[in-house]
Every structure is written in structure tokens, then in C-alpha cells.
């Protein structure tokens, strides 16, 4: 029975490792500038975690195999080095390992969060609500009109609560239901939630940030590969959470301008 347990543990460990090694289910391809560091960090961590995982399971299995149902007079032996050795090992191996991970990880985090957006970053505002994203482009004047919560009305398709009659800045704002961005240009995303907590997650972009109601946050990123991607909500926001999504189109600059023209016509 004990030997069976040992074998089972080893088999399970190997089976668990195979999909990771063969990249059966892997991260979606990265299309962002800062994403490289994150992927690197993940693969480093995967390596260290994987080794610790396999090592621990194997040693566990081996000991179970060796030291189960021994004879009555067999001698109890003490682990060479004893507790002290293991504690030191834990501090040296695991301790240094995790600290190293933490320090390297700091780079990746900093590249995503601690760097201010570039001057020429394209500002886009995204508003999350139950259960859809809507996007706003400032238009020629480069300014967003103020949001009037009392004017927000999905019934009248006034998703941002803009006052078209009084606010000059609002007149040329372009509101869209899908997000188009130019490739290789930094996007400064201003995040606003009109009701509850939501989150903005684009796996390929290596971007995830919660919307905090009553607190407007902003993130910035640069996409490097044209294509169609999905924006999904990762913060439980109600019954439609699973279906709260929008499409992200990464265009070449001229395609982007054309797309924006088209959207403007639809206003």
C-alpha cells in the first residue's frame, strides 16, 4: 500500500508537469511592450516552482517507499544534519529563491505600473458598467467633456452622461462600443466605473486593472501586433459578469484613422 502511494505520488507529479513542459495550455501570445518581462518572470517562477514541486514530491515518495512497514527491530535513524540542516537549507534555497524572484519581479511590475505615460500617449477613456465597456475618444480638440452622472442614460445611448448642448469639449467626443487603437503607440487608458467594481483584462496585452467606483485610475500600454483581441471583465460585477466583454482592434495608424472616421459618422 505504501509503495503504491509512493508510485501514485510520482505518477501524479509527472502527469502534472507534462502539460506545463509541453506548453499544452500556455499563455496567449504577448503583444505588448512591457509583457516580455512578465512572461520572463512567469517562466523563471515556473522553473523554480516546478523544481521545488517535483523535488518535494519525489523525496516524499522515496521516503514513503523506503521506510514503510519496516521490521520491528529496525532502527529509527535520524535525518543527516537533522532539523538545523533543513532549516538552513530552507532559508538558503527557498529564502534566496523567493527573494530573488521578488526582486526580479519588481522590474516587471515597475515597467507596467511605476513608469509615467509618455507625453504623446493617446488618451482613451473607458467606462465600465453592468455589463459592457464603452470607450471615448477626445476627438480633434483632444479634450474630454466632463461626465454628468445625472445625464448617464443607456436608454438614450448617452453612456458617458455627456451634456452635448453646454459642454463644448463633449461635442466632438467619439463614443464607441469596441476599442480601436493604433499599433506601436502608447495608449493612456483613463478608467471610470459608473456602477460597481469591474476589471479591464486583455490577456495578450498583459494588462489587468480593476475599475474602482468613485476613484478614476489610469494605466498605459503599447500594443505591438495588429489584430482582434478580447477585453474581458475579471471583477465579479453581477449576473452578466461572464458576458461583460468588448473587442480590441489593434490597427495600423491609417486603418485606425479610417476606423475613427467611421465611428464618428455613427455618432
Amino acid at each position: 500500500m505504501a509503495k503504491l502511494l509512493a508510485v501514485t505520488i510520482i505518477v501524479i507529479a509527472i502527469l502534472s508537469a507534462i502539460p506545463i513542459i509541453t506548453h499544452k495550455w500556455d499563455l496567449l501570445p504577448d503583444i505588448s511592450v512591457h509583457g516580455g518581462l512578465i512572461d520572463e518572470q512567469i517562466s523563471d517562477t515556473m522553473l523554480e516552482a516546478g523544481i521545488s514541486f517535483l523535488a518535494a514530491q519525489f523525496v516524499l515518495a522515496v521516503f514513503i517507499w523506503k521506510y514503510s512497514n519496516r521490521s520491528k527491530e529496525a532502527k529509527i535513524r535520524r535525518f543527516p544534519g537533522g532539523a538545523a540542516g533543513l532549516v538552513v537549507a530552507a532559508f538558503l534555497l527557498v529564502g534566496t529563491e523567493v527573494i530573488a524572484l521578488g526582486i526580479f519581479g519588481t522590474q516587471a511590475w515597475a515597467s507596467a505600473y511605476l513608469r509615467p505615460p509618455a507625453k504623446d500617449a493617446l488618451p482613451i477613456q473607458v467606462q465600465a458598467g453592468q455589463f459592457a465597456f464603452y470607450f471615448r475618444y477626445p476627438g480633434p480638440d483632444g479634450r474630454f467633456g466632463p461626465i454628468h452622472p445625472d445625464k448617464i442614460s443607456e436608454a438614450n445611448e448617452n453612456f458617458f452622461g455627456l451634456d452635448y448642448t453646454n459642454d463644448q469639449a463633449s461635442k466632438d467626443d467619439i463614443v464607441t462600443a469596441e476599442m480601436g487603437i493604433p499599433v506601436n503607440r502608447e495608449i493612456h487608458l483613463l478608467m471610470h466605473s459608473k456602477d460597481v467594481g469591474h476589471s479591464f483584462f486583455v490577456p495578450e496585452l498583459r494588462v489587468q486593472q480593476d475599475f474602482v467606483p468613485g476613484l478614476d485610475l489610469s494605466i498605459h500600454f503599447t500594443a505591438t501586433k495588429p489584430g482582434k483581441y478580447e477585453i474581458v471583465c475579471t471583477q465579479l460585477c453581477g449576473l452578466g459578469h461572464y458576458n461583460m466583454k468588448a473587442y480590441l482592434y489593434v490597427f495600423s495608424q491609417q486603418d485606425f484613422d479610417a476606423w475613427l472616421k467611421k465611428e464618428e459618422a455613427l455618432q
Partner: protein, 591 residues
């Protein structure tokens, strides 16, 4: 106040006093165990329904509409009903199973016995603790039957979704208020529990039982009650704030200018992050409240079944203590992408990484102790060994989630679900199973069926991995948690994996029925248990009978002469020496 300290030690008379409103810590422990048993099977049923729905989204589950007229008309689960089941599953499991079973149930039953006391110092508080907790459980269940069902905001209940009321979704009105009240009651119940556990450990120890001689379990329960003290004392006001935001129109958690369904909400200026801070300050220690008793139980059972003391008593206890301390400095890692200051994210990241060190040390102590030992295989030891394997597996995925940069990718994905299910849920359950197989003879005076127990272990061990390992792959592929269906294009390829998980979950769940049968059958028809079936040393095996008499040790209380794990020695009884036996060991035999 020591209101009830002295006066209750006549044997209880009358059915009510004996079995219902009992002051006896043993009966209360059994009551807690029963509560946890009901709760765990209910929670499992909910997870079955959820898994079925995730595997085959528009599948009609026959009879489902009996459970909820609105949530599942025509037997097809609606999104809101899925989320409601999910919320209830999480709440029931975390609070009423993982906290009550290893901590309140086993703790109540064995803490006083293992310290050689007759009972807890405040039996009336102890009784209240159970009944208040039970009331909390019933209040939670009642939300299935009122209004449009239970809350759908998940067990973390993030504001403002949880605080704005029915307009935010089904169950966010009455159901939400019931949720908050239930948890507030639960917190009070557990505080009353800690109020007993800590003095019991400090003051009621038998003669000669110094802190350095306590069994690991006692330390675990003591540390846990200290953690529970701080954690639940913080969650209680949070729940009260939540209730006030609902019924009194206050704005603790609801900011201004929210527009829900085109209606401008009346609230002003609350802070949504405030809830997250309060909740996770409780929530992260709660994870350790669930797992530390498991660690204690496993250390205890392991030492007994490998017939030797673990490598270092002081190191293991020290690690548990340091885990408890660190657990209050790490809660922010749940909020890396919640709009916290990016710098503070780093500040929370490092303690989180460092907390892996004491955890690793404990694991190394366990594995190192196996070396050169004599492992006895029985249901209890199998689950203890399985605990180590599962705990390691769940633990290493913590390396990822402790790092904010990686959390950008993995936050709120199935990777997280896999992580905490393995390290917290499955591991803690293994601890509970091990404890049950180990202590059942003492609790009920009968042995459990070993064969069924082993069968139960194999199915559960393999099944748990089959269910929760794939969660990590899903997470890496970007599959977001808390979705009732997968409509995103990039998740389509993952649905077969979900189907596989569902099948595994159904099978593993079914395997738990073996355990239930074994439990009930052995309770009444199991073969009578000897006083010390496992040749164990600690005080619970020195009681005059199994189950022990109402005052545990009969007329005389034990005196302790040895530390709790005198195994692998040469004594008159064999290779072990009981804590309470005055026998002196030949010098060379002492470790």
C-alpha cells in the same frame, strides 16, 4: 468574567442538557462536527451543480426548478443562480466547514482532553458559541428561500456590488443582508470559542504539562484562536457597516455618483477599497485559520504513525507561530490590481514571499522526519501523507501569486482557484479526514472501517489532483473565474478541459459518500475500540474510557511526566511512552 468557572461539574442530567444544550465540550465538539458534516455535503452538492453547468452550459438538470423557481425555471440554470450557488458554496465551505471542523469541532473535543482538563473554563460561553454559529448557518441557508435568493456577490462580497442593494442584481437585497448577518453571527460565535480556547491552553494544563510539552494540535488550536480573535473581531464591524449601508442608508462602502440601471444612487462618498482592506485583513488570516489546525493534526498523526518524534518540536511550533504573525502583513496581495498604490503592492509582495519560508520549513520537517522512520499505513496516516503532497502542490503555485507582476496575468483566473482549493480546501479537508479516522475511536468508542477508509483515500487523493491541477492550466490560458459560461473566443478551446474537471468532480464527490457511509455505519456497528488503538502517547489516550466520561479523566486528573511524542523508545509498553506514565526512561532511549 469567570462567571461559570466552578459550578457545573456534576454529571449532566436530562436529555436536553446531555445532548442538546450541553455544557460538555465533548458534546459541543460533536455538535460542531455534525454542523460541519451537513455543511460540507451541502457545499459539495452546490459545487456539483456548478460543475455540471460549467461543463454543459444549457444542460437541464432535472428537478433543479424545485430548488429555485426563479433561478432555474425549466431546470436550466440562470447566470444569477449560478453566481448565487457559487457565493453560497464559498461561504459555506470557508466559514462553516474549514473553520468549524478542524478548529471548533476537533479543538473543542480534544483541546481540554489533551491539556488534561475537565472542561473549558466557561462552558456556557462554549455552548453559546455553537448555538450562535448554528444560528448564523441557518440565517445563511434561509437566504435560499427569501426574496430572489441568496447574494450573488461571491464570498468576498466586494462593495459596492454588495452594498447598493437589490438594484445591483438578484439576491443583493434581502439575500445580501442575510449574508452579512450570518457572517456577523458566525464571527461572534468563533470569538466566544477563542475566549475558551486560550485560557484553557494557558491555565487548565495538567500538572507537569508545560507549554513545551503540549501536543502540536494544542499549539495549532491555540495559535488559531489567537488569529481568529483578531480576524473575526475585524470582520464583525465590517459586516455591521455593510448591513447599515443596506438598511440605514449610510455610505461606508458606497461612493457618490453611482448610476445603476440609469438610476443615480443616493449614496455619497463611501470608499469601496475600505471593504477590501477590512475584508482581506480578516480574509488572509482566515486562510491560515483553516490550515494551521490541519498542520497540527497532521504533525500529531504523522508522529504517531511513523513511530518517532518529528525532527524538531521547537522549529515546527515556531514556524506555525511565525506563519500566524506574517499572515497579518500579507493580506494586500489579494489587492495587487485593485487600484492600490503600486508601491504598497511591492510592500505586500515581500512578506508574502517570505511567508513561504516557515511553510517550507514545516514541510521539510515532515519529510525529513519520514527518513529512517517506521511508517504505519492506515487511513489516518494515508491522509496525513496525502496532506503533505497536496500542501506542497498548492503551496508552490503561491510563488506565482505572491508576485504583483505575475498577478497581472493570473489574478482572478482559475489559477487562483486551483491554488487556494489545493492549499486551503483540499489540504484542510485531508487534515479533517485524517483527524476523523484517527480520533473516531476516542470520540465514539468504535473503530472505523479501515478498508473503506483506504478506498476513500485513494479516490479522494487522485480525484483532488484530477480536479484542481487542471485549474492551474486553465488559469495560465487566461480563463477567468466566476464565469457561468465561457463566451470569450479564446476560452472555447478550454471547454473540453472543463468537461473533464466536471466528470472528475462528480466522481470525487461520490467517493465522499463512502466516507459518510463509513462514518454512520461505524458509529453504530463498528467494532469496539481499545483505549489506545494507535499506541499513541498524548493525554486523550489516557482517559479511562472511550468516549471519555463527562469529566474526561474520572476522579483523578492526569499528571504529565514526558513530552507528547515519546516514540521509538524502549519502554515497558513497547516503542512508546505515554505522557501520563510515571515510568522513567533509560537515559540513552531519550531523543
Amino acid at each position: 468574567m469567570a462567571t461559570h468557572a466552578v459550578h457545573h461539574h456534576a454529571p449532566p442530567v436530562g436529555f436536553l442538557r446531555k445532548y442538546v444544550f450541553s455544557l460538555d465540550h465533548k458534546v459541543i465538539g460533536k455538535q460542531y462536527y455534525g454542523l460541519a458534516l451537513v455543511a460540507v455535503f451541502l457545499g459539495m452538492l452546490l459545487s456539483w451543480l456548478m460543475r455540471l453547468h460549467l461543463g454543459w452550459t444549457n444542460l437541464a438538470i432535472p428537478g433543479l426548478h424545485f430548488l429555485s423557481k426563479t433561478g432555474a425555471a425549466g431546470d436550466v440554470m440562470t447566470p444569477e443562480y449560478y453566481l448565487q450557488l457559487m457565493t453560497m458554496h464559498g461561504t459555506i465551505m470557508v466559514f462553516f466547514v474549514l473553520t468549524t471542523a478542524p478548529f471548533a469541532a476537533f479543538g473543542n473535543y480534544f483541546l481540554p482532553i489533551q491539556v488534561g482538563a475537565e472542561d473549558m473554563p466557561f462552558p456556557h460561553f462554549n455552548m453559546m458559541s455553537f448555538w450562535v454559529t448554528l444560528a448564523g448557518f441557518l440565517v445563511l441557508l434561509s437566504s435560499f428561500f427569501v426574496g430572489d435568493g441568496p447574494s450573488l456577490a461571491g464570498w468576498t462580497q466586494y462593495a459596492p456590488l454588495s452594498a447598493v442593494g437589490a438594484v445591483a442584481g438578484p439576491g443583493q437585497g434581502t439575500g445580501e443582508i442575510l449574508w452579512a448577518s450570518s457572517i456577523a453571527l458566525f464571527c461572534i460565535g468563533q470569538l466566544l470559542g477563542s475566549l475558551n480556547f486560550i485560557p484553557t491552553t494557558l491555565d487548565l494544563r495538567a500538572k507537569g504539562l508545560s507549554l513545551g510539552r503540549l501536543p502540536y494540535t494544542v499549539w495549532a488550536w491555540f495559535i488559531t484562536s489567537c488569529m481568529a480573535l483578531a480576524a473575526f473581531a475585524v470582520l464583525t464591524p465590517a459586516c455591521i457597516f455593510l448591513i447599515l449601508d443596506h438598511v440605514a442608508g449610510t455610505s461606508f462602502f458606497v461612493p457618490s455618483n453611482l448610476v445603476i440601471n440609469d438610476q443615480l444612487q443616493p449614496h455619497s462618498g463611501g470608499s469601496t477599497l475600505l471593504w477590501q482592506h477590512l475584508f482581506w485583513f480578516f480574509g488572509h488570516p482566515e486562510v491560515y485559520i483553516a490550515i494551521v489546525p490541519g498542520m497540527g493534526i497532521v504533525s500529531h498523526i504523522l508522529s504517531t504513525n511513523i513511530r518517532r518524534p518529528l525532527l524538531s518540536y521547537k522549529v515546527i511550533v515556531g514556524s506555525m507561530v511565525s506563519i500566524a504573525f506574517l499572515s497579518y502583513m500579507v493580506y494586500g496581495h489579494h489587492m495587487f490590481v485593485s487600484g492600490m498604490n503600486p508601491i504598497s503592492a511591492l510592500a505586500f509582495s515581500f512578506p508574502t514571499l517570505i511567508i513561504t519560508i516557515p511553510a517550507t520549513i514545516i514541510v521539510l520537517m515532515w519529510i525529513g522526519s519520514l527518513y529512517g522512520s517506521k511508517i504505519r499505513i492506515n487511513a489516518a496516516s494515508l491522509f496525513a501523507l496525502g496532506f503533505i503532497s497536496v500542501f506542497v502542490t498548492g503551496g508552490v503555485s503561491g510563488f506565482f501569486l505572491a508576485q504583483p507582476s505575475i498577478d497581472i496575468m493570473l489574478h482572478a483566473t482559475y489559477f487562483v482557484v486551483g491554488h487556494f482549493h489545493l492549499v486551503m480546501a483540499v489540504a484542510a479537508m485531508f487534515g479533517i479526514f485524517a483527524g476523523t479516522y484517527f480520533w473516531f475511536p476516542k470520540m465514539f468508542g468504535r473503530m472505523m472501517n479501515e478498508t473503506l477508509g483506504k478506498l476513500h483515500f485513494w479516490l479522494t487523493f487522485v480525484g483532488a489532483y484530477a480536479i484542481f491541477m487542471p485549474f492551474h492550466y486553465l488559469g495560465l490560458a487566461g480563463n477567468v473565474r466566476r464565469y457561468q459560461a465561457f463566451v470569450d473566443d479564446y476560452t472555447q478551446s478550454l471547454i473540453p478541459l472543463h468537461k473533464f474537471i466536471t466528470v472528475a468532480a462528480l466522481a470525487t464527490g461520490a467517493a465522499q459518500l463512502i466516507f459518510l457511509y463509513n462514518l454512520i455505519h461505524s458509529r453504530f456497528w463498528g467494532k469496539p475500540a481499545p483505549l489506545n488503538p494507535w499506541e499513541a502517547t498524548s493525554l486523550e489516550w489516557s482517559t479511562p474510557s472511550s468516549p471519555p466520561p463527562f469529566d474526561n479523566f474520572g476522579s483523578t486528573l492526569p499528571v504529565v511526566y514526558h513530552d507528547a511524542y515519546q516514540y521509538g523508545v524502549h519502554s515497558s509498553t513497547g516503542d512508546y511512552l505515554m505522557q501520563a506514565s510515571p515510568e522513567e526512561l533509560p537515559a540513552e532511549a531519550k531523543e
